[in-house]
Each structure stands twice: as C-alpha cells, then as structure tokens.
C-alpha cells in the first residue's frame, strides 16, 4: 500500500468528490499539489460541481462603508451565526454592489460623478466584476460615457459559462425627444453592444433579481411616478417583456428569488404590520399567487430597505436592524454583529463562493 496516494487520486470520481467539498482558498492551494490536481480543479466540470455544492450553503455578503469614503477594503460575510471577513476590492471605491451571482460580484464606481443635490458632472463610470474567493478583478471596458446614474442588471445562467451586463440610460435625440436606450456587455465577446431604443427603463432605485437567465426590474408607474407600475424582464438572448404586478394592493414591494421563482415581498394592503409573499406562476399572463403572510416584529415593511433570500430564510434590513425570518418555523431573530460597528453596511446579498473566472 505504499503507493496508495497516487492510486487513490487516479480515480477521478473520488478525488473530484473530495476536492469539491473544500473552500476555494484550499482549492487554490491544492492546485499546486500536482499537475493532475491542477487540471482537474481548473476544469469547467469541476467548477460547476464546486458551485453546486457551495450553493447548498449560501451566506450573506455586506460591504461596510462610511459616508464619505466608500473605500472597500473588506467585505463581511455572515450566515447569521458566524461572521467572516473577505478581502475587498482593495484600493477601489465602490459606489454600490449591483448584484452577486455564482460567486461573482458586480460593483460600480462613479469616480468624478456627483449625484447629490441633483448636480451631475460627467465622470467615469467603472463597472467591475469581482470574485472575492479567488481575488480576481475585471474592469469592464467603458461603455458610452454619460453623466447619469446607471441602471444596471446582470443576466446569468441557467448555464454557468458567461454573463451579460445590461445598462440603461436616457438620451436626448436630435429632435430633443428623450428616450431610453440600452447597451449590453457580454463576457463571451468582452465588449459592449448597443441595442438601441427600448420602451422601458428600470426604476433607478430598484434592485433587480436574475432567475434562470432572466433579469427582472421594477418600472416606475406612469400614473403617479411614486409607486411600482410593472416589472421589466429581459433574458440572456436580449428579449424584453413586461409582467404586471398583482392586482391586489401591494405596497413597498421587493423582488426576490424564492426557490427559483420570481416573488414579491410586500406590505399587506390592509394590515400594516403584516407582510405578504407573492409568487409568479405564469409570466405571460402575469398570474401571481399569495403564498405567504405573517406578522413582522420590531419594524414594519415600510421601513425595510433591503430583502435578501437564502433558501428558506428571508433577511429584512432597515436602517438600524437586520432581521432573519425563518419560513419553516415562522420565527424571527435579529442579526447580531457581535461588536459595536459604527460603519454602515450596504444592503445584503446572498453569496456562494466559487472558482468561476470574471473573464471568459
């Protein structure tokens, strides 16, 4: 049995099975054990398997920031019980994290752009794709230079190779008519492509979700401009469509991915201390079913800024509190950071670490 090590690791299934259980940091070390291990870990099949396993244990990711200098030196990962610090995009300033998908994070930086007090100066919008687990950072090439707060969404999946970044902006044509346009970055081509005029543009403040390669955003109501009008959807093939929201009154809605279904977490139209969850059953006919309703302690959904879903758990974030709601036991608990933190935290996103490259 002297050569058991090399024999064991000849059985590709077994060694793949073992390695796929390791965190990404350990896998980076294992890549320099032998050529055989290196080629195995770098193979697309292995990356897919590792991601599948990692998705069994999603965590939440925040970035702590101070008001004036949003330099992100680290990210905070938590599952509610334990908290871990991940390296940030060192030296870069984030304005915002756009989304987290398959272990990658899309973040934007608007150096030179000032959004407060409605003054806008032309500056540089930088979009980065970042993998905190492998520390790979990719700065996307510049798209059209516009002094406008970008409306961005990332489409990925259902297959793991590649992603597309959609960016909406408003332009004024030669006849002074304002219209919406969209451009899209593909990780496969590595470049932006204009897709011209589009009928609708996402509501700037709304967060998007991506489910099975389709990105969903809220669009501002044309009636009052203050409430959600409908949902804009675009798939990886760049087909646009519109989904109506439930007819029953849904106030302060948030879009979430609940077990692979587009869902709305919203205030109950009658009782302000309740929240409802609506699940989309048919996107063509906009058929929604109210699947859940429960009371909310501490704060009500009007005060909720952010909602993130991890398996059967929903994280509600207000300015001061983060509350976990367990959908199995219907119980609540508050996220305890364990130390007094004077920093503010960004909205939480569900995160699973992966080996996926930022660049294809």
């Amino acid at each position: 049995m002297d050569d058991f090590g090399s024999k064991l690791f000849e059985v590709a299934d077994i060694i793949t099975n073992i390695l796929s259980r390791l965190p990404v940091k350990s896998l980076i070390i294992c890549k320099s054990v032998s050529k055989h291990w290196r080629s195995l870990i770098c193979s697309p099949n292995f990356m897919r398997l590792q991601l599948l396993r990692s998705k069994e244990y999603p965590t939440y990711l925040f970035f702590p920031y101070t008001h004036w200098g949003r330099k992100v030196h680290f990210l905070t990962k938590t599952d509610g019980e334990t908290t871990e610090t991940l390296p940030g995009c060192d030296g870069y300033r984030f304005k915002d994290m756009i989304c987290s998908f398959n272990g990658l994070i899309c973040c934007i930086n608007c150096e030179g752009l000032i959004f407060c007090k409605r003054t806008r100066t032309t500056g540089r919008l930088e979009i980065r794709i970042y993998n905190p687990a492998t520390r790979e950072v990719l700065l996307l090439p510049r798209g059209r230079n516009l002094g406008e707060e970008p409306k961005i969404g990332v489409a990925f999946g259902p297959r793991i190779n590649g992603y597309k970044v959609f960016r909406f902006f408003c332009t004024t044509g030669e006849t002074q008519d304002k219209h919406n346009e969209c451009e899209v970055y593909s990780s496969i081509t590595g470049s932006w492509k204009g897709i011209g005029r589009v009928a609708h543009s996402p509501w700037g403040s709304s967060k998007h979700v991506c489910i099975n390669g389709i990105v969903y955003w809220f669009v501002r109501s044309e009636k009052d401009g203050l409430t959600v009008g409908f949902i804009l959807a675009v798939d990886v093939e760049e087909n646009f469509s519109v989904i109506n929201i439930p007819e029953e009154k849904t106030l302060h809605p948030c879009l979430v991915n609940l077990e692979g279904h587009l869902s709305l977490v919203a205030a109950n139209g009658v009782d302000k201390d309740r929240f409802d969850i609506w699940v989309l059953y048919d996107s063509k006919e906009s058929i929604w079913v109210k699947k859940w309703s429960d009371y909310m302690p501490i704060f009500n959904i009007k005060q909720v800024n952010y909602v993130a879903v991890r398996k059967n758990e929903i994280l509600f974030g207000s300015v001061k509190h983060y509350l976990f709601y367990n959908m199995v036991t219907r119980t609540w608990r508050e996220l305890n950071w364990g130390h007094s933190c004077r920093d503010r935290f960004s909205f939480p996103m569900t995160y699973t670490e992966s080996l996926l490259p930022c660049k294809y």
């Binding site: 050569d3 090590g5 090399s6 077994i14 390695l19 259980r21 980076i28 320099s32 054990v33 032998s34």
Partner: protein, 152 residues
C-alpha cells in the same frame, strides 16, 4: 420470489461473511446482484475488497441499519470515530465504498479526507497522501507569486 434472509459475501482473500440481507442491501452493487440473480444461499464474491476492509464496511452498514432511531447527535459521534483512522485505512474504505456503492459512506469518508486537506501546505498534502510533485521550481514560484495570499 424466494427471499433469503441471510446473504454470504466473499472477500478478495476468501473470507466469508454471513450477514442479514437488509445489511447487504445498503450496498447498491450487492442490491443489483440480488435483484438480478436472486441467488438462494449463493455466495456473492466481492473481489475488490479484502476481509479487513469488508468487515469494517459491514460494521458501518450494521450500525446504520440497526440504530435508525438513534438521534442525529449519536450518529455523528459514531461516524466521527469510525473515520478516525489511518490514511491507508481511509483509502481502502473509500475504494470499497465506491466499489460497493454506499453513498452515505462515500460522503462520510470524502468529508473526512477533505478536512485533512484544509489549512495544509501543498508539501504537507503531498506527504500525507504520498503524491509526487511534478511541478518545476519555476512553476512553484509562479504559483506563489500569483496566489501567495492563499498560502499564508
């Protein structure tokens, strides 16, 4: 169909193990053999597994059959002790579990071996698992330069 309640397994080194059919059915490989041929009082050869390993595997199968009412805590303690073994034994066990196709046992041993990789240097991993280093000095330096943070 006539079901025999006992099944006889024969290890690679010729030892016979007479066990309950239910215990043997935890191995999908043996399950297929029994379904296909339904051997009455026949001996099922297990040519890839020696007696020492087979008895250990059967110990696992018996424990996980009998104690279905044992709570989770007890199981994890027993499982942890079960895989607290030398590397060569884990190797024999996983090869046997793979051949006999016992998914929970494969999971258990894979988790154990994976935990032995965690936090180790490439040198230490090669030493524990007896793997040849086929990288050149230059290549190794290059890895350290590119992902040195992971080695700290």
């Amino acid at each position: 169909m006539a079901f025999t309640k006992k099944v006889t397994l024969k290890s690679s080194d010729g030892e016979l193990f007479i066990i309950d059919r239910a215990v043997a059915l935890q191995s999908r490989t043996i399950q297929y053999v029994l379904e296909d041929t339904n051997p009455v009082d026949a001996i099922i050869p297990v040519p890839a597994v020696d007696a020492r390993t087979l008895s250990k595997v059967l110990e696992y199968c018996k424990k996980h059959l009998i104690d279905l009412n044992t709570d989770f805590e007890d199981y994890s303690k027993w499982d942890k002790d079960f895989v607290d073994a030398e590397v060569w034994m884990l190797y024999d066990l996983i090869m046997a579990a793979d051949y006999l196709h016992i998914p929970p046992l494969i999971d258990l041993i894979c988790d154990k071996i994976a935990s032995m990789f965690k936090g180790q240097t490439p040198d230490k991993i090669r030493e524990i698992f007896n793997i040849d280093n086929d990288f050149s000095k230059e290549e190794e330096e290059d890895f350290k330069k590119k992902s040195g943070w992971a080695f700290k």
